[in-house]
Amino acid sequence: MRVLAAGDAALLVETGDLPAAHRLHAALRAADIPGVLDVVPGEATVLVSVDPARCDLGRLAARLPSLPPAGYGSQDVTVEIPVVYDGEDLDEVAELTGLTRAAVVARHSACTYVVAYLGFAPGFAYLTGLDPLLHLPRRPTPRTAVAAGSVAIAGPYTSVYPSRSPGGWHLLGHTDTPLWNTHRTQPSLLTPGMRVVFSPILTPETCPGGPAGA
């Protein structure tokens, strides 16, 4: 663990890897330290922002290595998201990867993903664990509008657009599961560390053996 100052009101802690970042993130939340305002995991870091009047950064840094691990946390939760694999880019992804449409769907829905961190938009979770055969660069020209619920991939990540926004990821399908709702106590369905599985919903259009596939 390497602790860097990010100005006079935050520490950036290098944890080495993602699981260690999630453990520290969970431990900091469980410790509920007075004056800590925000705890944000990254790919191999945790940013801890404080109110400097209520929390001394030096003392906080000294305390980090000995924080007791959190008990039950988001890492123990698996969320299942049903997906209709009817995305606009499914054919293109199949072509770029050299797979069939069915194989793209099979590989995308076979993995158990982990919520690495959130960013880009409220409730937008970067999920790791994507099959390496599906790693593709972003689309050269982003779409000006991607519908809420779109299931997409880019680079080593998959995600679900929580609300309508511009986006440059490849669209594989959509889900009706709401990911973001500011009226809920917990506005985001997904939080760092959670596990996510996508379960394909078969429709006549997406089922290879169905009428449309015949």
């Binding site: 990010a6 950036l12 400097p52």
Partner: protein, 286 residues
């Protein structure tokens, strides 16, 4: 509800939004902190009219706004110094000012600085989202920017402090602000000269600046490490450096994570000055 006072927006200037102290505590869910870009000015405006410091007020960008308060109220104007007319008569800034029922409140264009704050006793009581009434221009949370014709309810005044201050002493904004920075967290991704350049040469504030960030133009900051930085949490005041070497200062609506290295962070004490940087003017760092 006959007791609810309403203010009617007549003109907004370039951009007018409702801002309070934002949405801390949700950054891990991708929610920007948001809130007033110049927090000390928001707090002062609220104190002057007897509000709690974090009450929602108006953040005006380059002034130019006008509104009418049905029923009258106490207001205060702080931040970038701009002419204030109430019922056509000039009034001072940084002081509580009584607006008679139906009188027009007009804020002119500031001579220096960028953001002027208008607080009303009771606060601008729009619908809160995740505990804040702030407009977040990056994520779209909170009310949309104000438009002519908008009606803003004013919050309750019962239980508020009495007005205690006649006028608050405020330091004038400098022509060339000098912002104090602390190196890191990724200063080691840059050449040693980069930090020296940053603290010796002036940078120009460009027009591509908003509540998300202030884009600067000046000597490029060269990197020694050229690989991609894994995405990490970002703080307000961070000087993030994209591949073109031109730094961006993150303000209130900045994204919660980013993938470009941060060479230095502006001290908390100087963040309000960063929020007042005006396009076309120079800024220095030390």
């Amino acid at each position: 509800m006959p007791d609810v006072k309403i203010s009617e927006v007549l003109r907004t200037g370039m951009l007018a939004t409702v801002q309070d102290l934002g949405r801390p505590g949700y950054a891990h869910l991708g929610v920007p902190h948001s809130g007033a870009a110049d927090r000390p000015s928001l707090r002062l405006a609220n104190r002057l009219v007897g509000n709690p410091e974090g009450h929602p007020a108006l953040e005006l960008t380059l002034g130019g706004a006008a509104l009418r308060i049905r029923g009258g109220a106490w207001i205060a104007l702080t931040g970038a110094p701009a002419p204030l007319l109430v019922g056509g008569r000039p009034q001072g800034m940084n002081a509580p000012c009584h607006v008679p029922a139906g009188a027009l409140v007009e804020v002119g264009v500031p001579v220096v600085g960028l953001r002027t704050y208008l607080a009303v006793r009771g606060g601008f009581w729009v619908e809160p989202v995740l505990g804040s009434r702030s407009t977040d221009l990056l994520s779209g949370l909170g009310p949309p920017p104000l438009a002519p014709g908008d009606l803003l309810p004013i919050g309750p005044v019962s239980g508020l402090s009495d007005l205690a201050v006649d006028v608050a002493p405020v330091r004038p904004l400098p022509g060339t602000p000098e912002l104090r920075i602390l190196p890191g967290p990724r200063a080691d991704w840059f050449t040693p000269e980069a930090l020296r350049t940053l603290t010796s040469e002036p940078y120009e504030v460009t027009a591509q600046s908003n509540r998300v960030g202030v884009r600067l133009r000046g000597p490029a900051l060269a990197r020694v490490r050229h690989e991609e930085l894994p995405s990490e949490g970002m703080v307000t005041g961070a000087l993030q450096v994209p591949p073109d070497g031109q730094p961006i200062i993150f303000l209130a609506d900045h994204p919660v994570t980013g993938g470009y290295p941060v060479i230095a962070v502006i001290t908390t004490a100087d963040l309000s000055q960063a929020a007042q940087l005006r396009p076309g003017t120079p800024v220095r760092f030390r």
